[in-house]
Symmetry: none
Subunit: 218 residues, 2 copies
Amino acid sequence: MRLLVVEDEHRMAAALQRGLTHAGFTVDVAADGVRGLELATSVRYDAIVLDIMLPGISGYEVTKRLRAKGVWTPILITSAKDGDYDQADGLDLGADDYLTKPYSFVVLLARLRALLRRGAAPRPSVLSAGALRLDPAARELTIDGAAVELTGKEFAMLEYLLRHQDRIVSKAELLQHVWSDPETAGNAVEVYAGYLRKKLGRDVIVTVRGAGYRLNPL
Amino acid sequence: MRLLVVEDEHRMAAALQRGLTHAGFTVDVAADGVRGLELATSVRYDAIVLDIMLPGISGYEVTKRLRAKGVWTPILITSAKDGDYDQADGLDLGADDYLTKPYSFVVLLARLRALLRRGAAPRPSVLSAGALRLDPAARELTIDGAAVELTGKEFAMLEYLLRHQDRIVSKAELLQHVWSDPETAGNAVEVYAGYLRKKLGRDVIVTVRGAGYRLNPL
DNA sequence: AGCCCGTCTCAGCGCGCTCTCAGGTTGGCG
DNA sequence: CGCCAACCTGAGAGCGCGCTGAGACGGGCT
């Protein structure tokens, strides 16, 4: 079992390496986010222990970039923060567990073993239609393999259309699901249909007059 | 993606709402079973996160009543109980997944995404007659497999004829059901019969002089 | 503070849908 | 065969839906 520990505080890193090695793991240590990314992408670890507060790239960012690159190695995030907001943040970005400092080494070991037992997270399924491939977990969209940047609302609207590509989606429905406000009088949906068309191509979204929108069934 | 969280414990509900919102969902919260039922029946959610222990109606009961009403939105039940007896109970009543507290937020997210991937209710069937196949949900019509474009009124009129293809449909009836205005004096129905004939072929719609129209029983 | 980005509103406009009208065609009936 | 009612159809006017560009607004970042 090979682990990667990403931790900038030297004493902490050394203690972890000693303890984990003693527990039978092979342990590599990276002192900052950049080095951690390099190692994690080049070596196939069984799990990663990742500190949030890092010089350079934060632990959040490291997680995000790894997942975006298709690296699904189990990640255990450790942090001095303890608000559940931060926890939600980290977990949302694709981490598998979360530990707040100070933590007992025994707990860390137990959680790590639980992670290893579970194995690497299965790559979440992507939604696709024609040349479109949308990954809800990574919040990523590619069209013919090329990455396309979308804003939050654009992404949400396209995701909803993709999830219901077999039928027509009304504007009211989009307002309910993508916008929380069903009483919005404006024409936001039409505007965002325009945005998406500008980024994805004019033919991707078909207008069904008087009914709503539908993805082009290519 | 719009979710409904039914949870009476306020802190828990707030945390869920925050985390799920941050994950890109639109989240409504109901504090008890009655309110949850109201919302679930009036809004078309993509999934429901439902606590078992609720003041008033229990989560079991909510699930049961929703299913009885024909609402087949995916339901994920959460509970402090952990006996498999309870789990079997919940799943038996029509829930789609079951999570025992305390649970990790990542796990909840993953299960939710799995539910959404699976999707909800079975699609309503398509109407067909002869070579015609009409899908009300997709607002699509194919004739001998080839797609045919219809306008809103054309589609509505053909759908009504298809739903009553075993009898003659009078012009007054069509005015009532397709046009909401029974006082329309014009000959709109005849005009649209003409439009449909032009698109579907002359023989598809048969005029019964003095009575109305009927689909050709091929 | 200044800037950029994302979101949403607003007004103008083009165009497709809807429906009316007038004249033509068909069918039933004496 | 002639008449009338029922039905068909081509032309076109009105209108409302949806598209678009411009800009206001707010939040995050430098």
